[in-house]
Symmetry: C2
Subunit: 313 residues, 2 copies
C-alpha cells in the first residue's frame, strides 16, 4: 500500500521527534508506543518516530530502534527518523526506517553552533550517507531538511539564493527530496511562496515538505501559502509540543489537529479522523505530565458546517 493513496496532502507527524526532543522530560517507551499506535489509528500516514543520535546528547530519543520496529507492523504508515550523521544513518537503516531526514542548516553560523560542522563537513557526511544507502539500503529514502531557511537567530537574514544553492548541492549529492524548514518561526507567506516556487523550478520533483514552527502564530498562514505553490507534504506535531520555554504560548511545530481541520475544510483529503487524533493526546498527557499542549480544535471542536473532504470518515 502506498502511504499517499487517496489523500491530497500528506501530513508528516513529527511530534514524536521534534516535539519530544525539545522537552527536557523523557516520555516512557511504553507510552510512546501507545501514542504512536493511536496516531496511526487516527489515519496519519507518515510519522517521524524519533532521532538516531547519541543517547548522551538526547536521552529522550534513546528508544528509536524499538519505536521503528513497533511502527513497521503498520504497513499503512511510512516510518521516518531524523539522522544527523553517518553513524545515525547506519543505525536507522538497520532498524528498518523507510526514510531518513538529515537536517542541514543553510546558515553556516547556525551549523557551526548546532552541530559544530562547516558546510563542507556537512556535504562529506551527506555523501557518505548516500553511498551507504546506495550500496546496502537502496529502497530507503533520504531527505535533506534544510533548516534556518526563512531566517536564523544567529545570522538574521538568510538569502534565498543561499537556500537554493544548498538545495541544488543536496540534489547533486543524491538526496531524494529537499524540504524547507522554518526552524525558528520567522517565515511569512510571501517568502514561503517565493522559496517553494524557486525550489520546484530548480529541483522539480525532488522539492519536498514544508516544516513550519508556530512561534509567532504564523504557522497556518504559511501553510496556506505553501499549498498555493504546490507543496503536498506538511510537517506538524500533535499538540504543537516542543514550544520555546522563553515564549509562553509559543507552540513548537504547527499543531496537527488544527492543520487537519484547515486542510479538510478546504476540501483537501488528509486521511485523518479528527476525533481519533484528538483522542491520541491522552497518551501525550500521560507520558509528559504537565507539558503544555497547544491547538484550538481540541477545545473548540469542529464547526457545525464541517465536512471531511471526500465524505465522512
Amino acid at each position: 500500500m502506498n502511504h499517499k493513496n487517496n489523500i491530497d496532502i500528506l501530513i508528516s507527524e513529527v511530534g514524536p521527534r521534534d516535539g519530544l526532543q525539545s522537552v527536557s522530560a523523557t516520555m516512557p517507551t511504553d507510552l510512546k508506543l501507545k501514542w504512536l499506535s493511536a496516531l496511526a489509528d487516527s489515519g496519519l500516514r507518515e510519522i517521524e518516530i524519533g532521532s538516531f543520535v547519541s543517547p548522551k546528547l538526547l536521552p529522550q530519543m534513546a528508544d528509536a530502534t524499538t519505536l521503528v520496529a513497533h511502527m513497521r507492523q503498520r504497513p499503512e504508515v511510512f516510518v521516518t527518523a531524523l539522522v544527523p550523521n553517518l553513524k545515525g544513518a547506519q543505525a536507522a537503516f538497520d532498524a528498518g526506517v523507510q526514510k531518513i531526514t538529515m537536517p542541514i542548516s543553510v546558515s553556516e553560523p547556525h551549523s557551526l553552533s548546532n552541530i559544530r560542522k562547516t558546510h563542507q563537513q556537512v556535504y562529506d557526511e551527506v555523501r557518505a550517507v548516500i553511498a551507504l544507502r546506495n550500496e546496502h539500503f537502496p529502497h530507503i529514502e533520504v531527505e535533506a531538511g534544510l533548516s534556518t531557511v526563512f531566517g536564523c537567530t544567529i545570522q538574521g537574514v538568510v538569502h534565498e539564493d543561499d537556500v537554493i544553492r544548498m538545495a541544488l548541492t543536496m540534489a547533486e549529492l543524491g538526496v531524494d527530496e529537499v524540504g524547507l524548514a522554518d526552524t525558528v518561526g520567522y517565515a511569512n507567506p510571501t517568502q514561503v511562496r517565493s522559496l517553494f516556487t524557486r525550489l520546484r523550478n530548480e529541483i522539480g520533483a525532488k522539492a519536498g515538505s514544508a516544516h513550519f514552527h508556530n512561534t509567532r502564530g504564523q504557522g497556518l498562514a504559511n501553510v496556506v501559502a505553501a499549498l498555493e505553490v504546490g507543496v503536498t507534504t506538511i510537517d506538524a506535531s500533535q499538540g504543537g509540543i516542543g514550544g520555546c520555554p522563553y515564549a509562553p504560548g509559543a507552540s513548537g511545530n504547527i499543531v496537527t489537529e488544527d492543520l487537519v481541520y484547515l486542510l479538510e475544510s478546504m476540501g483537501l483529503r488528509t486521511g485523518v479522523d479528527i476525533d481519533k487524533l484528538v483522542a491520541a493526546r491522552e497518551w501525550l498527557v500521560k507520558g509528559l505530565p504537565g507539558e503544555p499542549l497547544y491547538g484550538f480544535i481540541p477545545d473548540a471542536g469542529v464547526g457545525k458546517n464541517f465536512q471531511y473532504a471526500g465524505g465522512a470518515r
Copy 2:
C-alpha cells in the same frame, strides 16, 4: 488627512467593541480612554470604539459617546461604531462617528435568535438608517457587516448565494460598504477566496472588510486568502480579547499584534509600530484584570530578520 494614506492594508481595530462587549466585566471609562489613545499612538488608523446599544443590554458599551468625542481629537484616526438600529444610528451620528457598521445576519434563524428580527424587519431598519444619514449626516459612512457568512451555530451551512443576495440587497438599500464576518470561527481559506471574489464581482468597490474570529486557530490563514483576492481592510482586536469561555485558548477576533507582524513581514504597510502596539496592552491589563489576552508576538517578539514594509517606523 485620509486615514488610508501611505498604507497598503487598513487594520480596523475592533477590540474596544467586539472584544469589550464579549467580556462580562466593564472596563472603566478613564482606562478605555487611555487604551484608545495608546492604540492611536501605535499608528492604528481605524478604531471601532464601541456599540450604540441599550446600556441595559450591554452596560460595557454605555460610554460610547464619551469615547467618540475623545477619539475625534485624533484626526489621523477614523472613528467607527457598531449600530444595530435606527435609535443607535441617531445616537452615533449625533456623537460624531465617521462610520457605522450595522450587523446583518445572513442566517435568519441567527437574526431571530440574536436581535429578534426577520430579514424583512432588518431591511426596514437599514432603510431608515440610510434615510437619516442621507438627510442629515451625508458625510458619515454606513457599512453592512454581514455576519454568519461562513457558517452559523444554529443553521450550520450558510449558502454563498444567500450571502451574495444579502450583499446585493444591502448595496441596493444604499450602504457604502458590505463587509463579511466569520462570526463563529468557521471560515476556511477556500471559502474566503470564493466569497470575497464573488462579493467584489457583484458589488465592486462596495466590497468591504474581512472580519475573522480565531476560535479554531484559522484566523491568519484566512487573512492570507483574503489578501490574495484583494481585500484591503482587515478587522482585528488587541490581545484577541473576547474569546469564548467554553473554549479555553480560543481567542475572539484575530490578534492585532500577530496580524501586524504577518502583514509587515509580507511587505504590506499597516502604519503600525509593533512595540507601541504591544505597549498598549498595559491599559487592557489594568482595565480588565484577569482577562486572558492572546497573541504570539507580545511573548516571542519579532524575528531577528524582521523589517517593516517601507522601512523602519
